[in-house]
């Protein structure tokens, strides 16, 4: 899961943290949580689609 965590952190940081401030504010934290959920949805969709294509 290391690879997944790294790529997800990178994408969600870029998407959710505009100009970095003195802490993660509330909306950034919410954005990161939502971004994680969607990134894992995307990973699952991609994985399912690719596996069924390979068969």
């Amino acid at each position: 899961a290391q690879e997944l965590l790294q790529r997800m952190t990178d994408k969600c940081f870029r998407k959710c943290v505009g100009k970095p401030g003195s802490s993660l504010d509330n909306s950034e934290q919410k954005c990161i949580a939502m971004c994680m959920d969607r990134y894992m949805d995307a990973w699952n969709t991609v994985s399912r689609t690719y596996n069924s294509r390979l068969q």
């Binding site: 998407k15 990134y39 995307a42 991609v46 690719y50």
Partner: protein, 64 residues
Amino acid sequence: QQKAQLQLKVHGFTELCWDKCVEKPSSRFDSRTEACLQSCVERFVDTTLAVTGRFAQMVQKGGH
């Protein structure tokens, strides 16, 4: 080891298709985003096949 390579592909596709299909993370994917992610994987595989096939032809003809 083959499984590791397959996993790496899934990671790569997820990044690529995320960039192509997801504008802003929301509380749920709408059906359009979901369909986009699926098509993105399918079309990328198609592109790989097209590129590889064409390249093989060129090599056979000694065109490259």
